[in-house]
């Protein structure tokens, strides 16, 4: 499925830098969110064109946020390549992100499902609010886990909520209980995904060998950093902030203490996974028999998103 082009007027050839910019960005992505939508849509037996639209929508929103994020954070790399704002210009990175969001609105409005358009607009708004608030927390070294959870619910979780709700909206299923349950599950998935991503930054379950400590070096205390440092003295925190390598982190925190805190963090998130499983059981009671397969797909998500099991 070519997610880049849904409508004939997506990515016209007279905008060459835009095409190259998007190909650079998109080529190394895993497309996890699009695959999740395809799985769920399969159980709902949505038409292929609708599935294509949904998959493109989420990838466009996600990639737009990445383009803007990298510029805001001044990140030099994205998916092991030079970030778009650096390779092209900051102006093109901004415009490219705006273009993707504009195409989302064009394609969705042509599709004509008003509930889907409304929900998508709300999610984009939430995403931007989360980004805005997160930016206000740069160099705030005492931010709490609760405060970060609020940001992540707006930023990360909103896309997961969209992934699991939009196929049902596209199928014109507007059962309130169902959507409340899915919304709750989306929040938990987003939380788990973000926390796993934050652990990656400390080289935990970093199976793809991504660059580490990027958040710390950008002046941002992610959820695991916040958890690690919550009982530290001000001097220790100051030393922690200056860490450039994993070994330096171990020397500040203590290697044994680091892994002990990791166990506690994992334990905390296991409880979140248990709560998610409970909501899966609730979902099974709401869904009709012919779409129960969705529930087993959902049950496998924490393993993929948090424990990074493929």
């Amino acid at each position: 499925m070519n997610l880049k082009v849904y409508a004939p007027d997506d990515f016209p050839s007279y905008l060459p830098k835009l095409n190259a910019l998007y190909d650079d960005l998109f080529s190394h992505g895993k497309g996890f969110r699009a695959k999740l939508i395809q799985r769920i849509s399969g159980h709902l037996r949505l038409p292929d064109q609708t599935v294509h639209l949904l998959a493109q929508t989420i990838e466009f929103i996600h990639n737009a946020s990445l383009l803007h994020d990298d510029l805001i954070d001044r990140s030099p790399l994205r998916r092991e390549k030079t970030a778009a704002w650096l390779k092209y210009t900051p102006e093109y990175a901004v415009l490219a992100g705006d273009y993707l969001l504009a195409r989302v609105m064009v394609n969705l409005s042509r599709h004509g499902n008003l509930a889907l358009i409304q929900y998508t607009a709300e999610v984009i708004s939430d995403l931007l609010e989360g980004e805005w608030i997160q930016d206000s927390l740069i160099e705030d070294w005492d931010v709490s886990l609760l405060q970060l959870d609020r940001v992540h619910d707006l930023k990360t979780a909103s896309l997961f909520k969209w992934c699991i709700r939009s196929p049902f909206i596209a199928a014109h299923n507007d059962v309130a209980d169902l959507h409340r349950c899915l919304e709750e599950m989306g929040s938990l998935l987003g939380l788990l995904f973000q926390r796993s991503d934050d652990l990656l930054d400390f080289d935990i379950r970093n199976y793809e060998g991504k660059a580490i400590l990027g958040d710390l070096q950008s002046g941002y205390m992610n959820s695991f950093a916040t958890f690690l440092t919550r009982d530290m003295s001000e001097q220790q925190k100051a030393r922690f902030r200056d860490c450039k390598t994993k070994q330096e982190v171990y020397s500040v925190v203590g290697e044994e203490s680091f892994f002990s805190k990791l166990e506690q963090f994992d334990e905390h998130n296991r409880k979140v996974i248990e709560l998610f499983e409970h909501h899966c059981e609730q979902l099974a009671q709401i869904l009709p028999g012919d779409v129960q397969g969705v529930v087993s797909d959902f049950k496998s998500l924490p393993g993929i998103l948090y424990w990074r099991k493929v």
Partner: protein
Amino acid sequence: MSLQDPPKTKPSFLTIDRTHPDFQKYLLGELPNAQVALPIQSLHINSREEKITFQILNRDEVKKPSLLKVLARLMRLDLVGLTLLPVVTVFFEKSGILIEHASFALLSLLFLHGAIYCRNDFVDHLSGIDRLNEKGGSRVIQNGWIRAVTVRRLSRALLVLAVIFSLPVLVNSLNLVWLSALGGGIGIIGYSALRRGRELESGSRRTSANWIAGDLSLFFALGPLLTFGANIVAHDPLPFGRCALLGSGFGILAVSYVEIRHLISVVVDDVAGLRTLAVEFGFDRSKRFVACLFVLAGLCFTLFLVAMHWPWWVLAAALMLILNLGLAIRIWRTSSPLASSLPNILKETLIVHLICGIIVIGFAIL
């Protein structure tokens, strides 16, 4: 996300809606003694048709501090200075005040303070506000330390004690009866307004008038009403103007404290549809308003001290102004409702409130 440590067996969750026959039992904590049902805080916005997920634990699996610590937290003894200090400062103005009168008055206020906070915790738990905001309330009910129904009973018992201990004071200071009635009226109006502003439903009931009335009643209840009441009990050691200034200083700091709490929870409150100053005017304008409140409080205390014991009043006034200005500047510079500086400013507001009280007491002793 606040979940208790898992029991030795797999934790049990239960999701029920308000139409479930046992819904109230779970919410009030009226389960068999061996069990506790903890409402799980949801990041998702609640509505009247909401379903609540409870984590069901055995009572012995709930880790809780000592009963004394639990009660201290439930009765918000960390905030008792807001209630008692205005009264104590006025009592110190009167040399030779009868210890019995002062003691009964202070005990009555202490019990009233506890009764109001217990009641607030209970109501916020039932309405769901404290499930939306993980920092809201004392968390004693949400942590499973005391059942909601017990908190309600405690609130009533404390109110009865407050009334009993107030009787000797009222008998000896009949003017206090009128002030108490006025205070009660303001308290009821303000409390009702605050509760209406905190209801989780849409509609015309949630208006600006609610939070304005709430703030004004808070100002009076924790400021001038307390100082005027103490002044009556102590047989008028302070002239009207100075009593009003002292009360205003304390009252403004109390309102500042509450508004900073609203700034911290503005994201949750806005999404939930609660109407506070911070939601109404936005974070930026509200923080500037709070900064102005600090300046105003500093001025009130300064004017109160004017012409008392030269040159010490100048030094004391300068200190009070500096402390309040310091808080004003810091809150003005805060960049985000989620900034970690806000909880620190909140704690320091209480400290400044205490320092101002101590300075006033110091002058009274001089």
